[in-house]
Symmetry: C2
Subunit: 668 residues, 2 copies
């Protein structure tokens, strides 16, 4: 109440049946007695929260923040209360924040509906956090660091509104220029991706996803009780969503301030203007670590610099205006560098030599306004640099002692410029035989296993994925017939859902000539029986020899993430995925450009592209297979896991040689 | 003069022939007129510096700092002056700092012999920098951040004293607890490694090596004109030296302050004590990124925590004392955690909830003194946290808003604890046939090429490296004889220093049976002649078939770095080094534990160690080959480059199958 009465522009109405008056305001017994209330803040014991919520619904209140704890985070009774809360909110169409949260702040109407000690200054950042304590910390820090906010939301247990709701809302909010998040999990991952892609066309999103590391994830699980998805899914999902990921609190606010204040760079090329060689090299190293590139000046700029700078100065990037440079020398250099079409952004680095930092700050602010090119500063001093840094900060130019922090900020701007200009393409809708795929999947119901093996090659065929010629046969004679239909020698494999590692038990024979097919059939069946007498043996697969020597083995797989749904994996077969862990992931559905990126991302990609004198493989075939698998698992949520291993890629095409899958029969 | 007169405990004597008096002090015409001078600061035009230096020598002055610029950094005339300077210093045995530097500061005697505006506070850090401007920046910053120094040295052009001289000196200096360096290059890399290994037994060295990235290296080259060694050499060399590498200015001083003030951790296991779940997870993520591990408390500690903490508290690591915790609750938790034998260090994380940060700081300082366990703090606030952070800083406990910075500091302490306890082993001195190796190398003098090929396999034999059975023959009949001596089929290769890529021109035949040896000999010679009519053909190598299928191809190579000398490389052959760049480096001589580490470091190591059902190879054989190659190239500086590619490793041993080398005939 005290926080609300301190500055809120609207009326505040206390509700409590046992008081007549609160802070001198008339107190109502019950929400249904009130009228015209826009937002109810609920801070009553957990057992009566849902009753109050129903009253709010009856009173026509559409927005509610439940601060009270004791719900999903605290045992089965709380889980039940929270489920009920969600139902009531749905019934009355209530937008609910919380429960178990700190409340919400909206500085544009002076509203602090939280129990924090400090409130926020006005600003253009909207911030949501799954940790209330982190909001307290940020509020304490931000006021002293000139960082203002538009809205602050403590997400709590996310019974109704979650991170997706808020990015959606802030995306349309003209007062929000940057969205910040401290997130421990993301619900409805795919929906979040789709919303974020829209939002980030205009508004950058920066997030710390906590629980990144194995240690962190286990700490987060014990903190929020959330079933966390895998870091791989978050990594892929947040990148696909266009979210800029901060790895620490320092990065979160460094990125937020520059994104809220600066124009977009027109290129990734950055110039350094410095009065000292060493710090110039430090800045250059930071650029080498980033996605930025050192700008090459035009000949015109070089001529102008040569004329304007002292003869000993270095006119190439990093521009060294020398130790005795005044703010005017910097101004002359900046006029040339900021006007150079090859320069997308500039970092000014200065050690405290002859320079007056305040004059330099004034020059930077003036040139920043004049040229509209993104800028950051590294004024390398203690107190000497404090006031100038503040002046720069007010003009939207970040200044840090360490040149690397300035460079990192400009790199976040570059990253957002790339995200903003990214054209998202829908996943291709291939013409597939969905009915046939369904039939194949439903056949598993007749068996008492949820595993599928090579007998499911037809599933791939139904989705247009090339497989080697062949058949699965249960009779010796049929095997001989099948082999006759195939040119050359054949591969024969035992087909049993109970035998996963076929080669280990001698269940695979390669290069079988026609005349040995019958005997090999008997051998394979005998070995399988011998290995596991009670195994279900579906037969033997007789397959054309995939041209393994000329081809490269790849793996396309999927598994399901609790938050993001099907996650598609790609990598090279054999040691590459299994020993070197050289694999890449995307949340399905995967579009064509995304599938192409997946190949780009693996370290072993050169092996598909003609390294060491090989002929490049049919990359388009690999890209298409990734997309078709993505479509298959998106169409059939019942497919829990699926691996094509190997998908052999040759210069002439691709072929799925083996498959393993797990299905959830209840979803069929 | 002004800086010197402001606080220096000794006498200051001005020398200038055209003044009678400087700052009221009698001025001498010439250094030879002075008596008892310990240190001369030379700030005269570059043309007369060497004359002054000679006077200093005549006057018996042993320490000189030359501030004057215009030497090696500025054209050929300057280079000549600097060469002369080095000679004079050697003649008179003068310890010379500079030229082209800012001077030196020694706070223990109140001496600021630089032209900086600010001087340094007293402290236990000694700092050297190749950038004078960076010293100015650090001085401006340090005073306002309570960071003090013992000595500060601006290295300048390092005509005489270099980074090695100063680590050697500070290593024995009881007033120096931490050595910091900003380095753009390192002269005499191997000497630096040997000195640093001694020094770091007692005194940590933290360095920013600038020019880390390709962009940075090229900026550094244009700044100092130094011929930079490769980043790979610096990375290997600094690690072998036991230097803790900081990647930014922020890291440099974060690490310096904690290393100067805290005891060594007894283990890598760290505990978090926090009043908030979210920030606890952030700290845990930072630990996941570091070399630290989350501590598991003893059962006794858990019982005590259960008793002492509120019932809702999380007593496992991270310990969550809950949002309403007071400093006393923290004190109770710290008493238990700091006393736990499984805890090596502790980070206290606190958001500004019910807590009073000053009380918390007092508790931490008290417990830190009581238990002597390394600690860091993350007091997450703005002004609220300023005074408490200062109190903690004075007690040697770093405090940052971002928990990750606190964790990183403790991680630097862990790194130093490991360096400090590292036992360096001398490189093994194998019994080799050095004379035979010399003869083989000298044979190149008779030819007009500096390249060696398979004809140099004997070089490896002389150094005890196994090679396949075989011979190099120049006659068809000799080839047939050689093949008869070998069991089974043979490999035949053309031997010519002019043909580097033998397989590409059909110069290698594998699996040749005895009866085809004669024809194959003719074919190989014909192909080589056809490819390059004027090539020198030394003959044909007839070699036993190395069991390539059962073995794994590795590469052992060396090249010479301008600063560090021979750099030994190891990786797996084929795609691994060439496509995946999975290789590791060490400065020679390489000891046995270092050679073992090299195998540990490559991503593809599991392929040598039995991954995917392979039989592990003879790792000891690989380790020994690395060491023997290291000995060979250390013994013969004339070997500029050498590659054993492949060194085939099987479960039963290793064999060097092919060799290429480049020698400098003038060094033979």
């Amino acid at each position: 109440m005290e926080n609300l009465l301190d500055g809120y522009e609207g009326d505040v109405v206390p509700v409590n049946p046992s008081s007549e008056e609160v802070f001198g305001l008339e107190c109502y017994d019950d929400l249904t007695q009130t009228e015209g209330v826009e937002l109810a803040i609920v801070v009553v014991p957990p057992q009566i929260v849902n009753g109050v919520l129903r009253q709010a619904g009856e009173a026509g209140i559409r927005d509610v923040a439940v601060i009270t704890a004791g719900f999903g985070e605290s045992g089965s009774e709380g889980v039940e209360l929270e489920r009920e809360m969600t139902e009531i909110a749905e019934e009355y169409d209530i937008n609910l924040v919380g429960p178990n949260c700190l409340g919400v702040i909206s500085t544009s109407v002076g509203m602090n509906a939280t129990f924090t000690e400090k409130s926020a200054m006005e600003g253009n950042i909207s911030f949501m956090s799954q940790s209330g304590a982190f909001i307290s910390a940020v509020l304490d820090w931000a006021g002293d660091h000139n960082v203002g906010f538009n809205d602050i939301v403590s997400l709590g247990n996310k019974a109704v509104l979650d991170e997706g709701s808020f990015i959606d809302y802030w995306g349309d909010d003209p007062d929000t220029d940057v969205i910040l998040g401290y997130l421990e999990d993301i619900e409805n991952g795919r929906e979040f991706i789709d919303t974020a892609r829209e939002v980030t066309k205009d508004t950058p999103i920066v997030a710390v996803k906590s629980g990144r590391t194995e240690a962190g994830a286990s700490a987060a699980a014990s903190h929020t009780g959330a079933i966390a998805g895998s870091e791989r899914a978050y990594e892929a999902g947040l990148e696909q969503a266009g979210v800029i990921r901060a790895n620490s609190v320092q990065e979160l606010f460094d990125y937020a301030t520059i994104l809220g204040d600066q124009p977009m760079p027109e290129s990734n090329d950055i110039a350094i203007v410095t009065n000292a060689g060493g710090p110039g090299v430090m800045a250059t190293d930071a650029i080498g670590d980033s996605g930025l590139e050192m700008a090459s000046f035009t000949d015109e700029s070089l001529e102008q610099l040569e004329e304007a700078m002292p003869s000993e100065a270095n006119i190439f990037n990093p521009v060294d205006v020398l130790g005795d440079a005044s703010a005017e020398t910097y101004a002359d250099a900046l006029d040339i560098v900021l006007d150079d079409p090859n320069v997308g952004s500039v970092i000014v680095v200065s050690s405290p030599q002859s320079i007056d930092f305040e004059n330099l700050a004034e020059v930077m602010i003036e040139k920043h306004e004049e040229y509209g090119v993104p800028m950051a500063a590294s004024l390398m001093g203690g107190e000497t640099a404090e006031k100038p840094a503040e002046m720069l900060g007010e003009a939207g130019i970040p200044s840090y002692f360490d040149p690397a922090r300035g460079v990192d900020s400009l790199d976040a701007l570059r990253e957002y410029a790339e995200i903003r200009s990214h054209e998202y393409v829908d996943a291709t809708d291939f013409d597939v035989d969905r009915e046939r795929a369904r039939e194949i999947l439903e056949r598993t119901k007749e068996r008492d296993t949820n595993k599928l093996g090579v007998e499911a090659m037809e599933l791939l065929e139904a989705y247009g994925i090339p497989t080697p010629q062949g058949a699965i046969v249960s009779e010796k004679n049929a095997a001989v017939e099948a082999a006759k239909d195939i040119d050359g020698d054949v591969v024969m494999k035992i087909v049993s859902p109970d035998i996963l590692h076929k080669s280990d038990i001698g269940g695979v024979e390669v290069g079988v000539p026609d005349e040995e097919v019958a005997d090999t059939f008997d051998d394979l069946i005998a070995r399988a029986r011998n290995y596991q007498p009670d195994a279900t043996i579906l037969g033997v697969q007789v397959q054309e020899m995939a041209d393994l020597d000329a081809g490269t083995e790849t793996i396309v797989g999927i598994n399901r993430d609790p938050q993001f749904g099907p996650l598609v994996m790609f990598g090279l077969g054999g040691i590459f995925v299994e020993v070197l862990e050289d694999a890449t992931f995307r949340v399905a559905p995967v579009s064509e450009p995304e599938a192409t990126e997946m190949i780009d991302e693996i370290d072993s990609a050169p092996l598909l592209r003609g390294a060491r004198g090989r002929e490049p493989v049919d990359e388009a075939g690999v890209v298409e297979t990734i997309q078709r698998i993505s479509q298959l698992v998106t169409d059939f949520p019942a497919i829990l896991e699926l691996d094509i291993n190997p998908l052999v890629a040759t210069p002439d095409g691709v072929a799925a040689v083996d498959i393993r899958a797990t299905v959830d029969q209840e979803q069929l």
